[in-house]
Amino acid sequence: MTTRRKFFTSLAAGSLGASMLEPSFNSALAAILPEEKTATNVADLAKYPRTEQSMPGLYPGRVVQVTNPRCVSENIFNAPEIAKMVRDGILRLTGETDAVRAWRRFVSPTDRIGLKVNPIGGTLLSTSHEIVHAVIDQLLEAGIPKNNIVIWDRREFELHEAGFTEERYPGFTITGTERKDKAGSFYDGAGKLYGAAMIDPQWSYWADIEQHYDGETLPYMINEGKHSYFSRICTEQLDKIINIPILKNAGASVTLCLKNLAFGCISNTGRLHKTLWAETCAEVCAFPPVRDKVVLNIVDGIKGCYNGGPGANPQFITDYKTVLVGTDPVAVDRIGYDIILKKRIAENIQKEESPKGRKFLELAQALKLGVADIEKITLETLTI
């Protein structure tokens, strides 16, 4: 896997790619990157000017945490209480007193809006339907047409297995990049992967690392090689994205807003997990199909986990009874990181913070996707 990997000393060492970067951006990256780093096409980002809608969005460095002790009990979710958590969180974030006006700060009736959920924990620990229904109901109240709302993730069939079905969400589009037909085949009659038609060759995250996938794995990765292509769901089918990850750990780090987006919108991820996890979380989110479309992050912390993530190991699932709301995915992730770290220390999973746990946040901050420095984040807490 790594035999053909090329290293370069640092982005600040004068490579062509580095020279395209803004000086402040360049030096910030150089300060946090290790001396040897697998090359990626992060330097290409300089070609894409930021827009008004780019991360960190309307409220940089601001996070609202809504806690409600009645939102879940004995594994039964209280939908009205959860809906109130979402509504109150949006109101506090925007400073509005009217929910319609609050939501319309982020979306309009002509937008095609994607709700990026996380179904990989199956029925045990996926984005809760109560949160998704709350968001949908409030979008509808804000005048967003039903047919402009899309529930999506990488794997369409995992969405179905986690209960994101036509029966539960009638009239809404439920879609994924990796997909099967009704017979369960990943391949169409011509022998082509259905997923291959869902990736956009115009947009890719290139990294100088590759991995061979066997026949069973390829349909889940779509392609091999050094490119991870962005899903057409992001590049073509959506105007705005509302990101709804779960409060989960990933080793001594976390898988929240940035991870849910980065690994959820590109192909060929198998090669990236082990050695480029932090870089991928940050750098993929810095490409326009993600950076310029994500308008809001709502972390589902009704239930979450503090160890065993990103899978769902029941022994580490806990009722956090909280929801985090913000436009700045880095700041939201930082607050979520602290919540999980505190729980891990309380449970004796770890004694203190791992020095590498926040690397992806520091990289994302260097890419100007948001605020990772806890001293610069404004956290507003609400208890219902």
Binding site: G251, A252, N313, Q315
Partner: protein
């Protein structure tokens, strides 16, 4: 169902992989095994096809050494069960996965092999097999069914030949901690099993270790038995642990380093294996007791040579 919550680990038994090495099948369940149980789907994964099943979660299994997985979805009385049986490359690897997955375990009476029972999950480990049975309701009935399924699986595993943890961790002084001993084979294992040592191992490759966390009112420590594939790895570890240019030989007294934050000690087991202790203590006497236990263990070992 009569359950005992584990507060202290009982005698530790790990089944040997040797006993099942001739049998390439994986334990399984079928509709006929339990009344009302209906297998909805069954799939087998090997090599890196594990990616298709658990995506990034596959890495840690591959790091330990993964051979094959039989994943079964079943239902009974409206409860869904996910039954995953992994065949790892060897018994240590299976135990390693178990050791980083088990937490706040209860014990089921008369269950023949090592296990961890909780409201939603039953985990068992024996020889090269690590199996997890998860229900999606967490009710008493669902937990009971988890246990019944686990018994069916356990009956298919030859538990006659048993192995043990390294002798150091079987000292009577460590009885209350031995149940939390973890086996780690790489960075993901460190991150999931004992993340406090992530900086010590970092990108090092080719090592494995048993780690026993020790927590008490007076002591916060971890005792590890670490085997390095090569001298370079061992030297790097020594440097990171603050033992630059350390030369320790089997039979020699331990070496120690004390900083404002921690005390670290090293013993040599063999050319490629060391015992490493890291402790933060509020009581010097508690630390001395722990060190004395290890010293005495090696003293006895050396006398036996």
């Amino acid at each position: 169902m009569n359950l005992r919550v584990i507060c202290a680990a009982a005698a530790f038994i790990v089944c040997s992989g040797i006993a099942v090495s001739q049998d390439r099948s994986i334990p399984h369940v079928s509709d006929a095994d339990l009344p009302g149980l209906h297998v909805v789907r069954q799939a087998s994964y090997d090599g890196n096809s594990l990616w298709g099943y658990i995506d990034g979660g596959a890495d840690v299994y591959l790091e330990y050494g993964f051979s094959q997985l039989l994943a079964v979805k079943a239902e009974q009385n409206g409860v869904r069960y996910q039954i995953d049986c992994y065949r790892m490359n060897d018994a240590e690897s299976a135990y390693g996965i178990f050791s980083i997955s088990a937490f706040n375990c209860a014990q089921a009476d008369s269950f023949p092999i090592r296990h961890c029972l909780s409201r939603y999950q039953m985990q068992i480990v024996c020889g090269p097999f690590y199996c997890s049975i998860i229900n999606d309701k967490g009710t008493d009935d669902a937990r009971m069914m988890n246990l019944k399924i686990a018994r069916i699986i356990a009956a298919q595993i030859d538990s006659a030949a048993t192995g043990t943890l390294p002798a150091l961790f079987r000292l009577s002084a460590f009885n209350t901690q031995a149940g939390s001993v973890k086996f780690i084979k790489g960075l993901l294992g460190v991150q999931n099993g004992y993340p406090a040592w992530e900086d010590l191992f970092g990108e090092l490759r080719g090592y494995s270790m048993y780690v026993m966390p020790v927590h008490s009112d007076s002591l916060d420590a971890a005792l590890g038995m670490i085997t390095f594939r090569d001298k370079a790895g061992r030297t790097t570890f020594f440097t990171r642990a603050g033992f630059d240019n350390a030369h320790i030989e089997r039979g020699q007294p331990h070496k120690s380093k004390t900083t404002p934050n921690a005390t670290r000690c090293l013993w040599s087991v063999s050319g490629d294996t060391v015992v490493f202790l890291e402790a933060r203590t509020r009581s010097a006497s508690a630390l001395n007791v722990l060190i004395s236990e290890v010293d005495a263990f090696f003293g006895r070992k050396n006398e036996q040579r």
